[in-house]
Symmetry: C2
């Protein structure tokens, strides 16, 4: 879990500003927003599925690190002041029987219609990107202002009850000479996916074309750069699809919630 | 979670021997048995309480680090070959409505009568004692062949659903000049309770007399030694009592299950 450390008031203000901007309608990927502040993924499932999901997350901590659990009817997380998870993600996906049936930017109505939902906030690899940048490692999708590329891999997660699925991974192209440093930096933050799950060979993850991600946008890979893959908090959405959970709400991949917790609070 | 590392066959044999000895009736505290192999606490609750308990453990990871979850009807853990959690703890406590109603050394009959139980195996601080000893730090209760002293502290755990309670802590007297080293060694193993929760002032944990533990035996505290307190996997039993869970089975404090996982597999 996170350390209770003093936060720079300017950073807290940047996080609050980002949430208010998102609440007012900002509808783009959030990588790079309120730099240095933790971003989170989200999945809401019916109470009847909450135990299976929590156990699934527990058994797959690298892809599904649970940072907060909001019980039925609770929409404010302890991770951010004056928050409402129904409005503070830029974009939501609505799932029925494992199929995406709608995307919305304000989810209050749909949450009100489904009062039995339990919400899990899941760590996000955007939370180690500031640390990478501070070490002089370019984060391509921030530099190019695109969404991070994400892929449904062939890595099977450990099932739990009725829930099973494969791991979703995010990819960042890293110059060869900086890969060791990127591993060291991210390994220190297991609550936001930690060290890479794979380096250098997309085919062995079942990825046929690294330029055609399953979620988000492709990233330029320049000469001398190697694709590096991290576990991704979109993994619960793959589980929703594969397990045909009767109803669920998630964020849209890359469209995250910005908390009041500094990234460095997760350094183990 | 633990790293999948190669294990010395002699250590695996020692762990198996310990389990077989326990299965055959050994009925004493297990600290020091099969040195270097991970020991675990246990709590079984009805399926209807499993979500509340898993969430409670998730919210209180220092005292309740969940190392395995066995679903209804499953009694073998992945943490040890040919294991049966109904016979491989030396001693069990049976709980009704939050009160201990019986102690047994073989729990097969009672598990068979309660097929809806879900079992949680919880990290145990015995798992860092070999590392302390290797650093030249005497572990008093092993040296004196007594049970470790444990206390119900005044530290409130974060509640979850119907479950609430205070943290149970274990105590080891450590010579002043070795405390820093003891903190460093144990901090590296958060899955088996990690760094101490308190050093030096039992009263501030609500402990009136350090020589009268709530569970286990008192430990001699010699001149120049400071009582050091770690979170303890008996904390779920305090939650059972406080929350009046209708039925539960736990191990008896100090009477643990010995796994095939070496302690060093938990070093983060």
């Amino acid at each position: 879990m996170y350390k209770d450390i003093k936060v720079d008031p300017a950073q807290l203000e940047a996080a609050l500003d980002a949430r208010l901007k998102i609440r007012a309608g900002f509808d783009k990927p959030t990588a790079g927003m309120a730099a240095g502040m933790t971003q989170v993924n989200m999945i809401s499932v019916p109470r009847d599925w909450a135990y299976d999901f929590l156990l699934y997350a527990h058994r797959n901590p690298q892809s599904c690190p649970v940072l907060d659990v909001l019980e039925e009817g609770i929409y404010a997380t302890k991770l951010a002041a004056d928050s409402d998870i129904r409005t503070d993600f830029p974009r939501y996906r609505i799932w029925k029987d494992g199929e995406m049936v709608d995307e919305v930017t304000d989810a209050r109505e749909i949450y009100n219609a489904h009062p039995d939902l339990v919400t899990f906030l899941i760590g996000c690899s955007f939370s180690f990107e500031t640390a990478l940048q501070e070490a002089g490692i370019e984060v391509r999708h921030i530099h190019d202002d695109t969404n991070v590329p994400m892929y449904l891999s062939n890595i099977k997660c450990e099932p739990a009850g009725r829930i099973s699925g494969n791991m979703v991974v995010s990819m960042r192209p890293i110059p060869s000479h900086q890969i060791s440093e990127a591993v060291k930096i991210t390994a220190r933050m297991p609550s936001v996916h930690g060290a890479p799950v794979h380096i250098g060979h997309p085919e062995s993850l079942g990825i046929k074309d690294v330029n055609k991600p399953d979620f988000g946008d492709a990233s330029r890979i320049e000469a001398g750069e190697i694709p590096v893959f991290w576990a991704c908090g979109v993994t619960p959405q793959a589980a929703v699809m594969n397990s045909k959970i009767p109803f669920a709400i998630s964020h849209a991949p890359g469209y995250m919630f910005i908390t009041d917790i500094p990234d460095r609070a997760w350094i183990g």
